[in-house]
Symmetry: C2
C-alpha cells in the first residue's frame, strides 16, 4: 500500500477520527450538562481515550468548545475579494458568503456552539482571542495592498470594526434565532451601522 501519495495517511485518518470523536462527545456532554459541570475525564472516557490523549489533541478544555475551523475560510474569502471597494464592504460580503456556506451544512452545530459560548463566560474570552488571531491573519494578508503606516492602521481599524459588527449579529442570532437567520442578521447589523453613522 505504498502507492498512496503519503507514507501513512492511515495514521492521519485515525487521528482525525479520534479528534472528531473527542470533539463530538465533548460538545454533546457540554450541551447536556453544561460546560463547567463536564470534566475532561468524562469526555476522555466517552471518547475511549485517556486524559493525556485528550490534551494531546486539544491544548485546553476551552479549545474543544471554542475552536473554529471557519477562521481560515473567512480570511481567504476576504483576501480573494475584489480590491478597490471599501474594506468594510469587502469584509461584510466575505463574512456573508462564508457563513452562508457554513450555514448550509452546519447551522445547528454553529448555533449550539455559539449558544454555549454565550452562556459560558470562560469561552467568551477564548472566542475573542480566536477572532483577534483571524483579524491579524487578514491584516497581514491585506497589508500587501498598502505600504504606508497610515494604511496599516486603517486596515486594522476597519477589520476590527467589521468583526465587532459581525459578532454582534452572531450573538443576537444565537440569543434569538427565531427572529431571523444569520446571513440576514449580518446584513441588518452592517446596515444598522451605516445608518447610525449617518444619523446617530
Amino acid at each position: 500500500m505504498t502507492e498512496s501519495g503519503n507514507k501513512s495517511d492511515w495514521r492521519e485518518r485515525k487521528k482525525a477520527a479520534t479528534r472528531r470523536s473527542i470533539q463530538g462527545h465533548a460538545m454533546r456532554l457540554f450541551l447536556e450538562k453544561g460546560y463547567d459541570a463536564t470534566r475532561v475525564e468524562e469526555i476522555a472516557a466517552a471518547a475511549g481515550v485517556s486524559i493525556m490523549t485528550f490534551f494531546r489533541y486539544f491544548p485546553t478544555k476551552e479549545h474543544v468548545a471554542a475552536e473554529d475551523d471557519y477562521d481560515f475560510l473567512i480570511a481567504r474569502l476576504v483576501e480573494d475579494s475584489a480590491d478597490g471597494e471599501p474594506l468594510v464592504g469587502r469584509i461584510h460580503q466575505a463574512l456573508r458568503g462564508g457563513l452562508a456556506q457554513i450555514y448550509a451544512t452546519d447551522r445547528q452545530a454553529l448555533l449550539d456552539r455559539t449558544r454555549l459560548i454565550l452562556t459560558t463566560p470562560a469561552l467568551q474570552g477564548r472566542m475573542w482571542q480566536n477572532q483577534a488571531v483571524t483579524q491579524q491573519h487578514i491584516v497581514r494578508a491585506l497589508s500587501g495592498e498598502t505600504v504606508d503606516k497610515d494604511g496599516e492602521l486603517r486596515l486594522k481599524v476597519q477589520v476590527a470594526a467589521s468583526f465587532a459588527i459581525a459578532t454582534v449579529a452572531m450573538l443576537e442570532w444565537a440569543a434569538a434565532p427565531e427572529e431571523g437567520e444569520l446571513p440576514d442578521r449580518i446584513d441588518k447589523a452592517f446596515a444598522a451601522f451605516d445608518e447610525g453613522a449617518r444619523k446617530g
Copy 2:
C-alpha cells in the same frame, strides 16, 4: 470619630488598603517575573495575607491584572454626552476625555497593564469580557433614548464598533508608545476609520 457619615468606614478603608496592596504587589510581580510565573501564593505572601484572602478580594488571578475601574467612568461619560450627534462620535469623545483624565495621573500604570495584557493570552480574553460588560452598560443606559428594536441593534453595533476601534488604538499604543500618546492614537484610529469607510 462617629461624625463621619457611615457606621464603620474604618473597615472600608482598611479593606480598600488591603485591596490596593494585593493589586500593587501583584502588578509588581507580574511585571518582574511574568504573569504565568507568578503564583497566587507569592502575591498573597507579598501582601501579607493568606491565599484565601486573596481570592476573597479578587475572584480569579486574572481579575487582579485585567480589572479596570475605568469602565464605569467611560460609561458615564458616554451617557452624559450630548444626544443628537452620531453615536460613534459621542463614544469617541467620551473615550478621549476619559482616557485623557486617566492618563494624566496613571499613564505609566495604564501602559504597564496594557502591555502585560498584550503579552499574556489569558488576560486578553478577560479584557474582552470586561469590554463586553462595559458595552452592555452603555447600551442599557442609552436604550432609553430609543424605543424600537432597530434602534437597539443600531446602538449595539455602534458601541461595539467604537470600542473595537478604540481597542486597536490602545493596543497599538502599548506596542509602540514612543510613536505617539494615547489620546492622539485614539483620534488617529477614529480618523483612519472614517477615511477608510469612504475610500476603502
